[in-house]
Each structure stands twice: as structure tokens, then as C-alpha cells.
Subunit: 224 residues, 2 copies
DNA sequence: GGCCTTCTTGACGCGACCTTGACGCGGGCA
DNA sequence: TGCCCGCGTCAAGGTCGCGTCAAGAAGGCC
């Protein structure tokens, strides 16, 4: 989902962080001291940083100071010190959140979610364009020559499955299972009927399909 | 500097908050329960909200749910409960930070600074206009041809869910879960009844809906 | 307590969608 | 050359989902 740089000199905690973050779907990079943390951040371009304040070589605020001028993403600070002055210093040095050890992993993940929610407002706009039509996967809408074409639920299920794998061959078993369910893996005639309908609605020349190609004996392929 | 809405039923704490925040240069608005908090937020358009979870009338997450759809700014939650589950729930409900009572005022101010420093990346339009009516998401009000049209709570819940995703298809399961709760995911007849009422109130020609379109078998779509 | 609004629930007709079967065509193969 | 399998096309039947109406239940306000 996103790349996290985790910095801590406690190897056991670092291992726990790596496992937890990875299980939550993050790509994890680690560092055990301040200098390597700054180097790792510059090299790997993480989306978010989890930073322990008590590092052996640099003070936590120094790492923050080295990070902040160029790193725009959220920084969550971990610390064993619960004194308010430490929190204020870290937050004013550029940290976005401050969690005192020991902490609950679920809470850490929730705070990371909250930070990321604010950080990246729009993840992406999945729109696929071809010469003849455009497909908006988020809005579930297809336009042909500017006009909106309505697809039935089954048609959309089949079509979106193909559009999500542009240029790639999608097996008929995979399509049948994705749209109709595992019990229909043999009903290849369904595919024929609905592919014909899709071509009639979308292809400029339905008899000679250009975008929705048949791979005999294998499956179908969407070629933008 | 900026306008802060502070919500707490403890008048003494509320007074301390007002004094501290005002000394830090903020414009302060206060509320003592959930309903007046939502009203005050809609009327005063604060930049940031400090919200106590233990309110007498509404659960804290309900206030968050009422706030989040249209309020883009940061929300800092105060609570006497230090259980991790409470924190995770509040953060996932849309809170940006969670501070347990008792807390240090300096830390609270530092956390508010950190939240405001990150700013509000979502400049979401609180007002949606069409040729026939205008929707004010903040004030929860709809005007048709200049006249105010009253919507019942359920009608508004359904309608706002659609307006918040203009042009996008919203699945019936999503709508049912958002308005009635997860236990009602199968009651599609609710959708039919209330969509008919909304069309009767808003559409110029309810028999041929122009803005609230049906996508058979999938859901509904608001097209501005 | 009585009135009003709002929500829930059921029934019914209609149209669209899914399913199913039949047929023709073309390529691979003996 | 004749057969067979896979694909495309078409049409018809049955089912399902949607819109509509109305009546009963629940809750708030005077």
C-alpha cells in the first residue's frame, strides 16, 4: 500500500514493527540509527516515517531537522519519555504525532492511518482511455464518443475484469469465477453471449473486434 | 489566528480551554453537548475542532460521523478513556489525534499546531449546485428554485451520501450500510421508497429522473 | 392523551435482465 | 473429404429488480 521507514535502535521492537506494518499491507524499510535513517529516507523515498527519539548517534530532533527540509510526508515519533516538554519539542520540530512507549500496535496503526488519510487526499484516478471509448472504473461509467453507454451488472462485471488487466490474457475460468462464481466455471457459453453484447455496445465494428479480442481455447484480452 | 470549536460538558475544563486557546491567539467557540456542537460547527465554520468524547447526549463517534462528511479540518479528540480500542475507533471514525485526560495544555497546543501546520488538503466544496437545486452540505439544507425543501433525517442521509460522490455510482449495499447500518444490507426496498420520495421532492420530473439515476442491479448515481 | 411526522412493511404490475437452447460457421485433424 | 470442437449469433422464456401506492407502527410535540 505505502512505504514506511521505521527507525529504532531496539532490534526486537524494530522486528515487531516490521512484522506488524507488513501485515497491514505496508512496504517496510528499517534503520537503527540516525545517520542511516536519513540515508534510508533519501534513498527509498518513504511515504511516512516512524521515528524513535532515543537513537545512539543523533538526537531525535536532529534527525527531524535533517528530514523536514525536504521530506513532506508525515513523521510519527516514538519515545520512552512522556514528559510534556519532550512532546512539545518534538511536535514543534516537525513531528506530526508523538506516541510514548510502551504503546499498542493497533493504536500505532490507527494513528498512521489517520496521518496518511490527511496526507494523500486522492490516491489515483483509474480512467482508461482508448480511441473510441473511455472507462471510468471509480465511477463505473463508460463513454463512447462522448455519450454514456449503460452496462448491465453482468456486462460491467465482465468488462471491468478485462479492463483491470489491460493487454493481458484473462482465462475463461478466471472470468467465469469472478463474475458468476466458482460453480459456473464450465459455462463458457455465458462468456460468448456477454462478450457479444459488450462488443455490440463498445466496438466500432462488432464483427471485427479491436479491443475485446478472443484467444481461442484460452480466454479474452482487452487491448487499449 | 484561527477559529477553534471546543466541545466539552465539563464547564471548568471548557473555561480553561477557552482561556488557553484564546491566549494562544485563537478565536474560540464552545459547545457543551453533541447537538449544539454540530450546530455550532455548521454556523461558525471553525478551522479545527477539539472534541470531548464523553458528551451527555451523543456518543463521540456520532458527533464525528456528523462532522466528517462536510468538515475538512482537523479534529482532536479528548477522552478520559485510555483504552487502545477507544483510540482506534475514534481515529478510524475520522479523528486526527487522540489525547487522554488529564492532559497538559502545552502539549495540546503543540498538537494543534502540528495539525494546523499540515493544513487542509481537501478544499471540498460544501455547496453543490445544479440547474434546479442547490445543496449545502454544511448547513444540511436543500433549496429548489430558491425555496427551502425540508428533508427527513433518512432522506438527508441517503441524499448526502449520493451528493458526496457526484457522478460516481454508489452501490446499494454501501448506501444501506451508510444510512441504516450493516444489518440492513439486504433491505433494498428501503432504497426504492426513499429514492422515490427524494425524486418527488427534488426532481423537476420525478417520473424521468435527471439527477438521481438508477443503475439497475447495482445502485444509484447523482449526476449534477 | 391526541395529533402529526416519519419510518417500516407488504402487495402488485411492468419492464429489463439473465438464462437457455438451437443453429451456422470455420479451423484442426484423421 | 468428412467430422468435431469452439466460437458467434439470435430468440424466447422465466425470473428478478424497480417503481408505486397504501396502510400500520413508532416516536416526538403540544
Amino acid at each position: 500500500m505505502s512505504r514506511v521507514l521505521a527507525v529504532d535502535d531496539d532490534r526486537q521492537l524494530l522486528r515487531a514493527l516490521r512484522i506488524t506494518l507488513r501485515a497491514a499491507g505496508h512496504d517496510v524499510v528499517t534503520a537503527e540509527d540516525g545517520r542511516s535513517a536519513l540515508r534510508a529516507a533519501a534513498e527509498n523515498h518513504p511515504d511516512v516515517v516512524v521515528l524513535d527519539l532515543g537513537l545512539p548517534d543523533l538526537d531525535g530532533t536532529e534527525v527531524l531537522a535533517g528530514l523536514r527540509p525536504w521530506f513532506p510526508g508525515p513523521v510519527l515519533v516514538l519515545s520512552a519519555r512522556s514528559d510534556s516538554r519532550d512532546k512539545v519539542d518534538a511536535l514543534d520540530a516537525g513531528a506530526d504525532d508523538y506516541v510514548t512507549k510502551p504503546f499498542d500496535m493497533g493504536e500505532l496503526l490507527a494513528r498512521l492511518r489517520a496521518l496518511q488519510r490527511r496526507g494523500t487526499p486522492e490516491p489515483e484516478e483509474p480512467v482508461v482511455r482508448t480511441e473510441h471509448f473511455t472507462v471510468d472504473l471509480a465511477a463505473q461509467q463508460v463513454r463512447v464518443d462522448g455519450g454514456v453507454v449503460r452496462l448491465t451488472p453482468t456486462e460491467w462485471g465482465l468488462f471491468s475484469e478485462l479492463v483491470r488487466a489491460p493487454g493481458r490474457l484473462v482465462g475463461q475460468r478466471h472470468l467465469l469465477q469472478a463474475v458468476w462464481g466458482p460453480a459456473y466455471e464450465k459455462e463458457t457459453n455465458y462468456l460468448r453471449v456477454y462478450m457479444a453484447q459488450l462488443r455490440r455496445k463498445l466496438e466500432p465494428d462488432p464483427a471485427n473486434p479491436r479491443y475485446l479480442r478472443t484467444e481461442p481455447g484460452m480466454g479474452y484480452r482487452f487491448t487499449p
